[in-house]
Symmetry: C2
Subunit: 520 residues, 2 copies
């Protein structure tokens, strides 16, 4: 057994069953090893950013790492933006980076580069396998590192000669670090804050946004009058009818400040203290009001649901334990008329299937979506966690591979879609049940807004041209068809509803270009 086979076999034994791959020559022995380990399925991606984004979506939905197979430093570089998003999402993810043979590195061949520097920028754990006899044990440790609570990117560097040298040994799974229980005094401190009678907000993030944790948080809030808010960009938020609804902290720091205005106690449950996404002249870097005390109930690596349950038990005596929110199965009616961001959101709210996984990179076109989908059937909402656009289509790829029995809805801004559009080809090859909606407003609309917010001098055509996606307009139905995904274009709300209904009803991938008014 060579080193590559030992890695592949060990990964499968450790529960890694999917490898999103964009391989090159240095990875050929690992690719060949997939034939010896049928439990480890290879999924071809035509760009590394698709592979890493897919591994992120897979990890968010399963809680287990997928592997992303990348080709040396440049392959890792191409996958780095979506690894950045995965790092922010705290997704368990295993990046496998092939490298030159150990003895070949000193020759500085054209593809030689500083893999370790790149890997270190996104990974909580990096290791270069030194010998084929270490391959299995290093792989097992890599999986445990990826699973280390709350989850992180682990990068395993695989020199080519290690992969082809015999003597590879399989290793048994290594137990990962589990979430840390929160000490009782910390829970009592939060309870005291909630009972102080002063205005309090519980900010929920990470695993606090799953159904049971939301129920506990809701119980604590109702018992004390505290308000609940969700972090702005959650890795995975379970929501919809029957699940306690939680508004998100706004993206714009001035709106977030307004949401937190008057708060005296901000209690963090799996979330970090909120900050402005960007800095702006004369705007604060954080929306937390002066004089507000920040209490850390549970760090992301802690047992966040357990802490919320304990908190609810402490403050919620007299409340029915776990009493659900009133179910609210009503759907909004189907809107009519022009297709805008608002009517499109209404259509999605009216038609979202039960159990959908929504991958949201709609950006400015998405502002109406949370309200429109609040009482849709239960679903998961996956956000752009790290701000590196080009995540949505890859994320949907991984979510669909992870959850073959659930419909996946990718909501994509047109500008963002163009970063990693080749994900559509993988949607087609794997016949994934993904409906992609492209909100085509032919602009980097968010930048038009941000240009004003940053106070940049009133701008002329040179600046405006760099925010404009028209000339030529992009025909997303042609792009999709070119990659094997059936596609249509909607220009009215009724069109959009009919096409969305059809896409949800028919298995396999579809794309709908929602042609919107500029900045619609």
């Amino acid at each position: 057994m060579n080193g590559a086979q030992a890695v592949a076999r060990t990964l499968a034994d450790c529960g890694v069953t999917t490898c999103f791959a964009n391989p090159g020559t240095s990875e050929m022995h690992f690719v060949a090893a997939l034939d010896t380990v049928p439990e480890l399925r290879g999924v071809l991606c035509l760009f590394e950013g698709v592979a890493t984004g897919a591994a992120d979506g897979y990890g968010r939905m399963t809680g287990r790492p997928a592997a992303a197979l990348l080709h040396l430093g440049p392959g890792l570089a191409n996958g780095l933006a979506n690894l950045h998003n995965a790092r922010r999402a705290r997704t368990p993810l295993l990046a496998i980076v092939g490298d030159h043979a150990t003895y070949h590195k000193r020759f500085d061949a054209p593809l030689e580069s500083d893999i370790d520097a790149l890997a270190g920028s996104v990974s909580g754990w990096v290791r270069r396998i030194a010998r084929s006899c270490d391959a299995g044990s290093d792989a097992a440790e890599a999986v445990a590192a990826a699973l280390r609570a709350p989850g992180q990117v682990a990068t395993l560097i695989l020199p080519a000669d290690v992969t082809w040298t015999e003597g590879g040994g399989i290793a048994a799974p290594v137990a990962p670090r589990l979430p840390t229980p929160v000490p009782g005094e910390v829970i009592r401190d939060a309870a005291a804050a909630l009972r102080s009678g002063e205005p309090a907000v519980i900010l929920l993030g990470g695993t606090a946004l799953r159904r049971l944790a939301l129920q506990a948080a809701s119980r604590a809030a109702r018992a004390t009058g505290a308000r609940l808010l969700a972090e702005t960009f959650a890795a995975r938020h379970e929501r919809g009818a029957g699940i306690p609804p939680v508004d998100r902290l706004a993206y714009l720091v001035e709106m977030a400040a307004s949401q937190l205005d008057g708060t005296r106690h901000l209690i963090l449950a799996g979330a970090t203290a909120p900050v402005s996404f960007f800095a702006y002249p004369d705007k604060p870097s954080t929306p937390v009001p002066p004089g507000c005390q920040v209490h850390v109930l549970a760090e992301p690596a802690d047992d966040v649901p357990g802490a919320l349950a304990a908190l609810a038990d402490l403050v919620g005596r007299g409340q029915a334990p776990g009493s659900p929110q009133p179910p609210r199965p009503e759907r909004p009616g189907l809107p009519d008329g022009e297709l805008t961001a608002q009517t499109a959101a209404g259509v999605i709210g009216a038609l979202l299937p039960d159990g959908a996984v929504v991958c949201d990179e709609a950006n400015t076109s998405g502002i109406w979506l949370p309200a429109a989908t609040a009482s849709a059937p239960p679903h998961d909402w996956l956000s752009l966690t790290g701000g590196a656009i080009g995540q949505g289509l890859p994320l949907a790829t991984g979510a669909a591979v992870a959850c073959p029995d659930r419909p996946v809805l990718a909501l994509e801004a047109d500008g963002s879609a163009m970063y990693t559009a080749s994900a559509l080809w993988t949607h087609a090859r794997e016949q994934l049940d993904i409906t992609t909606v492209i909100f085509s407003n032919r602009a980097y609309a968010i930048l038009t807004m941000e240009l004003e917010r940053t106070g940049a001098p009133a701008s002329g055509s040179a600046a405006r041209d760099l925010l404009d996606l028209s000339r030529p307009d992009i025909d997303f139905t042609a792009l999709a068809a070119g990659m094997g995904v059936p596609a249509s274009r909607a220009t009215t709300a009724a069109d959009f509803a009919a096409q969305l209904r059809h896409a949800f009803a028919e298995p396999g991938p579809h794309l709908i270009e929602a042609a919107m008014p500029p900045r619609g």
Copy 2:
């Protein structure tokens, strides 16, 4: 004047007139500054890898840096693979990376990441502007750094608050380090080797592959019986009728070893010592034969053309100075029949326009091209210098912006084209005179070959599926049309000739999908 305006104004004053841009919020003040500096033209790219690859193509053709405007660490990451290629090409290139405001970094906002680690992996020079009063002088030094012989990537990090703070000062250009003259004793050593009567090869790279340097090298070779070879992947090779022809060192190390077999003196002129692109079990890491003495006539940073001219003068007494090769203006006839890599190369050789700039990322489909185009009218040949695929379409973008009066031909493998296909949109928006040929063999054909060469165990369907680009076949004419580039598909040599002739005759971008037999 704010810091952004000071940077933009200084760049223009230093001769930087083009900025390939994919901006975000932190770059809004720099974008606005373009309206105040009309000499600095912004060219929008829909993905950072397009912007950096375009800046590479521009720098190779002009010898001056273009700027690539990138959005924080993830934007830099997306552009990194083509910066890696630019580093290997020794292209003068200025990466401008926007960053959070200095005071905002400690908040670890979602897009925060280690920009310096990424920049350091590809840049010869990195600086973060500390204050708006330094903005102009830092920009001037950045341009000088990019131009430092032989050329390199210089990265200037632009914190948002520096861009919007008043007090920016314009700076005058800084003189870059020029190529170093080669000492006479080094030239005499090379001359002695050439005159030793033992088999000698002069390996030409970098600026040795321009017309005048090639003439000098040819003179030295003819006077001494030495052979000339060109480095395998040249940044820019002037070739065609009237220019001394030089074969390239082969990509496959065993073929390169055969080219160098028996050589006792290998004289490096602007090239580095040759190495195998990858390592393989039981194959050497370098094709240089044992016992061959390697002489460094000129490092890439040296005055390579000057060293070759001095060498030719020393060994070439009695030869007519600078006597040209016999001009060989004959074209091959147009081939007929099936469209294959070989007949496609023949068509290109027969029709290549005078003064064309060829951006070659044809990979396995390109093996017949050098011979087929050797006696075409003079042209420049730009190669994939760093092995990071996804370079060709961006490179062509930059070459066409740099040389608006010359036809550009992008020769693209299908797999490589999918990395940065959105470059086609910029081709359309800027109406660049680029003819793109996609060699569509529906496979990572090079990996099919490499799988065998690495000795990976005979593989089954799991491995083969990861090298296969069919299921679904990609329709490149649909992709091109979707981005505003007129496109056609050729399935015979005659089709291809007619379509290529049309594309060359009509200004603006075109794409031809050359549908080849599998592994054709």
